[in-house]
Symmetry: D2
Subunit: 377 residues, 4 copies
């Protein structure tokens, strides 16, 4: 694994726990973790339970005892590491965004397909029980024809103008701001749930244009200095979308939505029913069916914690909720089974590329002030 910060912790935890709750067809051995700062990565290896560590990802990739590489380093490093790993014949699992831009993402996908290695991208929210239930309901036809899809991904950690200029706020490292970081999740969920985008138009803002340069650029919690630097990514991006199936879409991602901590929601209206979901209450799914008796119809608050719900029985008895990190355990389970047994797996690099296409089409629409077809980018 390359990377040992927030995502490194979430991924490590998944590797550590997956075998305890799921029946795996292969053993999981946590061989090595890699990071540039020796002290930091050594501590992480120890803390997270890795057998060894490396400070140069090239060495990690060169090791014979490693079959597959998990990349959760900052976004600007994804491409180079992934290409090298693929070249070395390793399977690759990559944090989103796949790459800093679409061209790079396509190159990575092409390389992986050509090399015949297995590849995945960490759109973890697909794997929450309530989201799986939403997918099942839609696929069963119970919502009918889809008319509306609306998503929000709202956070507020930048609303304080003194919040420092973390790496996530520099285009050259992060590629994008709220758009690439969190709209990416909403776009992937929309594709997963109702299908492909046709065209988009958006707008965005950088509400605070300069921020204190942090003493260290690492992490969300970096402390700011008195010197200021330019924010080169968006604080918020919103867009309208037409889907290929005719549905109308609406998306907003913001780091300035005061009071909304991790408000990743979707609401879908079909001709036969509707669905609503919110990451802050990720165990619940609200569902409405028109076929219910009119007198008794209403949004149902389904607790997706019952034995009938995917993954739920692997954890605790009925009604005992799970948290954010469980999505990582589930995607890890699915990807490791994919490696071990060739079971089907998505999302792959192809999904990373599709998501990037939508992201870039939105950016292009902002430049042009007009609709952009996703197929055009």
């Amino acid at each position: 694994m390359v990377g040992y910060k927030f995502m490194g912790k979430a991924h490590s935890h998944a590797y550590k726990d997956v075998g305890m709750f799921f029946d795996m067809d292969a053993d999981v051995v946590m061989k090595a973790i890699c990071g540039r700062d020796e002290e930091g990565v050594k501590a992480a290896a120890d803390k997270f339970g890795w057998e060894s560590y490396e400070t140069d990802w090239r060495k990690l990739i060169a090791r014979d005892d490693i079959d597959f590489v998990d990349i959760n380093a900052p976004s600007d490093a994804h491409k180079e590491i992934a290409l090298a790993a693929i070249a070395a014949g390793k399977h690759v699992f990559c944090e989103k965004p796949l790459a800093l831009n679409l061209a790079d993402g396509r190159e990575m996908l092409a390389a992986a397909e050509k090399a015949g290695v297995k590849h995945g991208i960490c759109f973890n929210y697909r794997f929450l029980p309530a989201v799986q239930l939403a997918k099942k309901i839609i696929d069963s036809g119970k919502l009918g024809e889809i008319h509306h899809y609306r998503a929000t991904y709202l956070q507020d950690w930048l609303v304080d103008p003194e919040a420092p200029l973390a790496w996530r706020l520099k285009k050259e490292v992060a590629g994008s701001g709220a758009h690439g970081d969190i709209n990416a999740h909403s776009i992937d969920l929309a594709r997963f749930l109702i299908g492909e985008f046709d065209r988009v138009i958006g707008h965005n803002r950088t509400f605070v244009k300069e921020r204190p340069i942090p003493v260290s650029m690492s992490g969300l919690s970096a402390v700011g200095s008195s010197e200021k630097g330019e924010v080169t990514v968006d604080d918020a991006t919103a867009f309208l979308a037409d889907f290929k199936n005719g549905a109308m879409g609406m998306f907003v991602a913001s780091r300035f939505a005061t009071g909304r901590k991790n408000h990743n929601t979707f609401e879908i209206h079909g001709s036969k029913g509707s669905i609503r979901w919110d990451l802050e209450r990720l165990n619940e799914l609200e569902v409405y069916f028109r076929e219910d008796e009119p007198e008794l119809a209403g949004f149902r608050r389904i607790m997706a914690t019952e034995p009938e719900h995917k993954y739920a029985a692997n954890w605790w008895p009925t009604g005992h909720i799970i948290g954010y990190e469980h999505g990582f355990v589930h995607i890890t389970y699915e990807f490791l089974q994919h490696l071990a047994t060739d079971s089907p797996f998505a999302p792959t690099f192809a999904d990373g590329v599709r998501c990037q296409e939508v992201l870039e089409a939105v950016d292009l629409s902002i430049e042009r002030g007009a609709w952009v077809s996703v197929d055009e980018v």
Copy 2:
């Protein structure tokens, strides 16, 4: 009508509006309103739309142009006025509580039955669309056998120790505190929805034992003086109940539930389903059915604002909510139709007496520190 304060306003409004929204079999003529303070009652007659006013209820009752009397004077006056009205052959509609105590209530009921006049008591919450829907669901058997009934009626207007000693806090005028005022509503709803009480046991508190004597004793909003007087009613009363059908019951009424403004709720669990309701969101009913597919079962939030819901179509289109006073309009509609067409009507004085029996059984259980059978009082 006798009484012209909070309840006088609510009742007057109902008489004024009922003909606009409902098809009545008789015309409603608002003949006269009565109160002791001439200036006050004159203003109310004018404001509320009454043709005339009286300052002595004996005169009101003596009038030939009046067929029925609505009594919403303070509780200690109910009995005398009602008995006189009944003796004069008038139909009577009375605010709850029916009387200051059970013996008085029984006397009123006996008089009304003997005289053959029609009688009703204003348990207005029965007549909200969501409560009617709850009743219909239970009567249809969709909840199965009832196991649990829990009710709260929580307010917080007395939590400030400087809130003045209003008439509602004096036993000789009000009869009882939170218990008689708001547990009475919960008891009536329980009887309406699931049936009769078997036995009860309770406890109560008067958290603030002395309060400033108000300059005037009228109304909730009276301003306090520097002199203090004793509070002689309960601030909060809670009790357990066994119902005759075997269900377990739990009730709490309080004027000290900080932050709860008018939190009149019930939650009912049966062998096949459950129901929850809250007066602060009176247009909604939460319902759970075990017969729903396990994967898709959840509490439904039903908006009882649809054409299928009782009384809803008389008001506004789908999804347009109604408020507190609409319950009064509905009960008024039903009682006036009862007068005009002899259509069935409940709650009558008999329901007022049943309610009073439960209230007094609870008080007796508090004295004794042991369960009291409701049939015993």
Copy 3:
């Protein structure tokens, strides 16, 4: 008053009740109601409490005993009636939309201003206590600089393809579909709360293009025949907006949002706080303040039913909720006081025109596939 259907009922009720709950500086006399169908309007006059009725609005306007005219006839009749009333020197209160198009609306505004009559438009939602509280919070600066405004107005009464072709679905009568009918409310609330629109871009859909022609074209509840006719308005319209103050806006109106009955919501994020409101729970306002201790900060569910909240004390004690129609009573109170005492009043025809500008800019943006400046239309 011209019109006697859904809106006629809501307005009549307001005139009937306003004097009971508010202290008016002039008496309200309900002189005459007007409609084309004699039987219908006669019944309405009787039911709603009007002294007389007319079947020709010209006669109504010609009457000397009438000072002001309330127009809630179908939208295509607004202009002609209003111009005639203005010409006759009557004050005018008009249902929204002001007119079928912007040019007509501007003509009406110009006529009213030239004639010096008083004019108002019935954007009733401004006058709900929770919305008034939102306005007060924003004006006080407690939300800081506004970054985001999002509104939905979602209904589902057209999702059934067999729902008949009511007059609201014909462009020549209604002017517009969901956009003009319900986005209009959202646009007005946004202007009221945070100010003017700069530019917009939208998309729309008519999901069901043909519907059964009703036997009668009147009312929402018309029954369909076997013959079909073309739907010539939008079923749903969504748009992005930039506000002049720099805020990002997002709006969606739909009559195809299955399960959403009257889901008129707004959510506003400012640099210091956030607000959320929903018409289905119109007595509540959710508010977040960044200045709260971080450990204790959270969205507050404020019950706007307390004596401190505008209009609330005119109704019932604390915690007793009001409904949809109360907004009409409040706007009626304000407009009648405006007539009687020259107290300030908004929204006027000018607000109707501003709203229409935004609506038409959105339609133009849909035609062009590009942003349209509101000042341009």
Copy 4:
């Protein structure tokens, strides 16, 4: 560790993960797990990450390489194992209930105190961030004097009469039904948050008196046979309580609350504020403060996922929720630190005994039909 079923899994997970998210003053080594069925316990050891296993707890206790024993075997085995472990000088951590009855619990406490070993009981819910916040708010005086405490713990896994007769339904193994299993949690939370009980009175029910005997008695998911056996514990127990500080209490536990999956809630009203919490949304705390401006006061929905909240920063960034099992990780952290550094720790066996006293006082009150003082049992 003795026990390897539901609780064995939850505890094992805590030992496995605690070092990854918390800085420990001692290493955690998962030496051995113990259970009677060799195949089962061997599989659990492997799955959960224990170094070895035993099939006889006496052998486990005899091992020199073991410093402390975690007991989560069925309740009837707690006493014997704990006494033996204490006798061997091991520290002991025990699942609740401490023992089958109060006398046994007192014996265990006395033994542990006499031996000077450290002891804890697994009231895990105390250690959720939102519950810790509730405790902090109450201790700070922000709620003022406590007037009301109400708790529910509602499940519905027994409402199906064909649900088999699991060991939890036999008094000789489980000691008690819903009362000992889940009211125990509510009682402990009440003691933790507002202090000691004075007197209680309750009632209970066994709604389904006979159930199919399962082929195997182990686990919640056992499959039933056609033969039936008697249920010897309560399906539901409710009680009223007076607290020593004068507060009124109300508790209900049920396994028949259809639709409520794990509805462990408390609501507390004090003279200055109120608190509400629900395990199904365990990351949230609803709090009301009277000191807020009246116009702006409302229940705040606090997400206890922020850096300011206890334990939250050890997990994920702001707004990323945690689940049921995290309470086990936190209590494990606190107990292990207590072992390593002698940091203060509660709940101990003494808390287990106090809880048992309340449980038994309630049972006694049911027998007697009258209030029972907790000091009396």
